[in-house]
Symmetry: C2
Subunit: 191 residues, 2 copies
DNA sequence: ATTTTATAAGTGAGTAATCACTCAATTTCA
DNA sequence: TGAAATTGAGTGATTACTCACTTATAAAAT
């Protein structure tokens, strides 16, 4: 890794850690610089602004996750298998870089509206899979967004609880449960 | 309503609306005052600081919701009925004052650690109900926090989607589905 | 090899703007 | 008429960002 790239990576990691620990607005450029062992001015050699740095970090993870989920579910046949593939991929992303994952999870509200049109999107991937399965008659037809939200919530709220420290250990340890639970949610029948 | 109480209520409502629309850190005291049609200084006759105002709003809803959930589930017999009572109560709170609800939902990260020990807590209520049901053998035994997170996620993620505008209409319209889905999550068997 | 030159990387004091909060003066109203 | 409520200009502190300058790196010329 070149010197410049190393500096940029150090800045991103320092910012990430602070953003998760104290929030984006509450983190100062001086703190980021100190944590990365550079002067404040150096930040602006690599990023046009603090906000852009924060957005870059978000979008990179957002797009990367979306593409990984797309690839993960593609070879799987049938909704049940696709769900498991998606859940496994998601949990592995979370466990691989928990700080980045937590940052993405905690700051969706701020950045989701700034996702460029056409950029790969984790939510869309899941929605499309569910929509297909409804058309194919694999699960009961209902409001797709509602069903997707509830199914996704099964995993995301567990991840959120881990961020809050309410439970510990790898998310991946619970892939089977999450997949079964999401499947159960989507299979709920109108009575 | 007295004049002072009216001013205080207007300030709270103005702050709430702005906090949801733009975030707490991004909302200035000047904006809050303008939205409430008072001078900036008036804020400080009713609240010691902007942060305390934000915390007050959060804690009042947090505690109110926890107490309502406790009452709602008490008379219900059996987990299935308790779940439905909890879900219905939660959705009604959301629909009754959506701005306050959205504020609470979007700012848990910042305020949850500041909840005083012993204060009624929505999460604890649900956790206890699930824990009881596991002990009673109504549902399979597993990590209570994990199960609670996934069950709660079914409803909370749907609420989050509504905040993002991904779907519209009252949450209460889907109580039956949420309850069925949460029940299905908790009933998932180890294989 | 040594010096010169060019470019990239890094620095940190300084700047302009913002913002939460104060307080002396004014208005409201019982 | 006195207490309570309100006002808004003022204050001190903070902060994102700039920029003139220094240092490191490497290529080119001698």
């Amino acid at each position: 890794m070149g010197k410049a790239e190393d500096t940029k990576a150090r800045l991103e990691r320092a910012a990430l850690t602070l953003f998760v620990a104290r929030g984006v607005a509450e983190t100062t450029t001086k703190e980021i610089a100190m944590a990365a062992s550079v002067a404040e001015g150096t930040i602006y050699r690599y990023f046009p602004s603090k906000e852009q740095l924060a957005l870059d970090l978000f979008l990179r993870h957002h797009q990367g996750l979306a593409e990984a989920l797309t690839e993960a579910q593609r070879p799987a046949k049938g909704l049940r298998a696709k769900i498991e593939a998606i859940v496994r991929c998601y949990c592995e992303w979370a466990d691989r870089d928990w700080t980045l994952f937590a940052y993405h999870l905690l700051n969706q509200h701020s950045f989701l509206i700034q996702v460029p049109d056409g950029m790969a999107n984790p939510v869309t991937v899941v929605r499309d899979v569910i929509s297909q399965a409804m058309k194919a008659g694999e699960i009961p037809k209902r409001n797709v967004d509602l069903a997707a939200a509830s199914a996704i919530g099964v995993v995301m709220q567990a991840a959120t609880y881990k961020v809050y420290g309410r439970f510990t250990g790898d998310l991946s340890d619970h892939v089977r449960f999450f997949a079964d639970a999401a499947w159960a949610v989507l299979s709920v029948k109108e009575k």
